[in-house]
């Protein structure tokens, strides 16, 4: 059996990749995908701990995150489309309206 450490390291690596993507990519859609990557890294962590503890709590949490992620994807993509329609671009550097 593969020890839990490996699963956790993989999840950490995925999370870091996702976070890196969120912080540096210019395209909103790619940033969005990176967020999904982070969520799934978290899911992996939940499931690994569930396996280690041998109960269903982690599985429940993972399903919960998946449901939230689906809803988030629907709203997030709708926002990206709306932004594109109004501004003709989905590049994050063009969307600097959160200034003072």
């Amino acid at each position: 059996m593969v020890p839990i450490t490996y699963y956790l390291l993989l999840a950490a690596a995925l999370f870091c990749m996702g976070m890196f993507g969120v912080l540096v990519r210019r395209n909103a859609l790619v940033v969005f995908m990176s967020v999904e990557l982070m969520l799934n890294a978290a899911n992996l962590t939940f499931v690994s701990f569930a396996r280690m503890r041998g109960d269903d709590l982690g599985h429940v949490s993972a399903f919960f995150v998946i449901a939230v992620a689906a809803a988030e994807a629907a709203i997030g993509l709708a926002i990206v489309i709306a932004v594109f329609r109004s501004r003709g671009s989905v590049l994050l550097e063009d969307l600097r309206t959160m200034k003072h």
């Binding site: 969120v22 940033v31 994050l92 550097e93 969307l95 600097r96 959160m98 200034k99």
Partner: protein, 742 residues
Amino acid sequence: MTLVEFFRAAPVAPDILAPSLWLIIALPLLGAFITGVFGKMMGRANVQLVACAAVAGSFVLSLLAFWATSHHNPETGRLAAIFPNPFGIERDFVRYALAYDYGTWFSVGDFRVNFGLMVDHLSGILLLIITGVGFLIHLYSTSYMEHDAAYWRFFAYLNLFVAAMLTLVLADNLILLFVGWEGVGMASYLLIGFWYDDPAKAWAGRKAFVTNRIGDFAFLVGTFLLVLLVSAFTQQSNAADYSNAGTTAQHYTAALEQKGPVTFKGLEKMAEGLVDGSADKVDLSTPIEAGPLEGYTFGGVMTVAMLLFLLGAAGKSAQLPLYVWLPDAMAGPTPVSALIHAATMVTAGVYLFSRMSALLVLSPTAMATIAIIGALTSLLAALIAFAQDDIKKVLAYSTVSQLGIMFMGVGMGIFWAAVFHLMTHAFFKACLFLGAGSVMHGNGDETDIKKLGGLRKEMPWTWATFLVATLAITGIIPLSGFFSKDAILHGVHHNHLQGLEWVSSLVYYLGLLIAASTAFYMTRVYLLTFEGPRSKEARVAHAHESAWQMTLPLVVLAVLSVVAARYAFGIDFFNMTAQPVLDNFLSPVFSATKRITEASTLVALDTSRPQVVPDYLKAWAVALTGGGAAAFLYLRYFPSRVGQPDPAFIRAVRPLALNKFYVDELYELIVIRPVKFMSFLLFRVVDALVIDTVAVRGTAWVTARVGSALRYVQSGDAQAYAAVMAIALLGGMAYALIQVMQ
């Protein structure tokens, strides 16, 4: 039916009347509300009707209450106006009084104040003076204020004053009395500054208010000392102390729980308990064992409390060192001067000490201080009155002087005479003030007596009443002022305070000097105003007599100041050794005081009557000397020297008296300037610099600086924000990890 039977059969029995006592206060209060809120739309006649009717109704109720205090049960013929003293044992009754307790006003811990009202012979007299003279002055004001646009405000304030003053005299405890005490102060402030668009008058109102506040503060501290004294007494006393006071520990503490520690009846019982007995544990020299006053003796604390009440009374009754507000209070309308600043409010101090006479006689030191303060105030005010040319100012200083005489009486323990002088003074001084108002009304508001003169023919009613009142205050023999003043001086001369025997002689001889001075300045005012030729500088060529609303009160007051003299004689008129009527009438009020003075050696009260030879002759000679000197100077001496400069000694003395012995200037130098300087410091340094500049504007400045520096961080780039969040999270996690590892 004899006269005595008539007065013993009250139309309303005391037990029926007692629950309605609150109406006496409520009627003028309602009048104040109606005239104050709706007065502007009601019109002049309606406002006058409401205001006068409220006080008249109150007068009728007061009359019924006063009558009821002497009521006898028609079937048994026994006294009906009695109620069980809650602080005494079952058979201990307060006689010739009716009272009603409307329940708890507030209670904190074991401290409790009830809304209790009481009418006995002392407060009954005051009730009649306040509502009776008050009604006459309301009537007078309807004519006096006929040209004033703010008539409704005037009547609202006047009614408010009457309500507050009635609260003061009806209260059965110190705290409720203090409510009235403050209420009359406020009404006085409002009425002195009635014409507030004149800055000098607004200032006079403020001066009165601030001066009174100083006294009120002392009053409150005195009250607190008495509360502490009561609790110390209940802790330390034994059965003998209570039996000295005619009560038991159970009854006394039960009544304290029910009525609170500040009722006058409870304080009287404590005072009786403090008298030295053989088997008792607590008397005046006993140190207090516990509490904030630990180590001080009962007698010492009592003296301090009485001296604090003296300061409080000095503020309200215009005595040294707080008398300076009263002469300036003449800025208000003249009826106000007559009602508040002569007849009623300023006598509150005399009433307070008469009400608490049982406590006062425990402290000869405090009594001597009161008497000396009264004598000095009286003399100083009389000397200032010599040189004042404003008719109202002369009367104001005369009021201060007469109040000083009442304080002499209270201080030397001749309480009934002080109350008697209070009563006669209310009549003749109100008459004098209203007469002065009538003179002003008929002469284009001229107040300078040097520019009046010769009004005898032109204002006959005003002249006649003013003359009667002048003779009364001067002390000419058949008038009331003579007897009241003489009763005080006689009592002052014959009463003795233990260890302070010299005080009675000192105060007595000062009193004779004051009597001569009074005669001098009153004669001067009368002569310059009414006799001689009309002044060439007169404002109007011919004065006109005032309307009946103004002359009727004058006549009533003049008659009262004559007939009040009856109270100085015995019930049997020709028996010159019998107890005076008023002394007899007030004896139930001062019964505890009498028991204390008989049981202790602190104060020796004399009960002899002044005799025709030598007392009356001496007093008459003194009054005639003063009046004669004034008559000589102002009828012969000065008119014959018109155009010549005054003699040197007059030129030397006159400016001193004219400028009121520079007391106002002295206060300016030692009180007002330092306070103003301190206020200036506080304003400039603490308020303007520390609070405004550093604290308030400094905070805003720092926030603005920090904000304008930090705004460059806010680029609008969502990824930059996310990066900051990520780094912060990382840092937080690193910190948490380090903590866990350790």
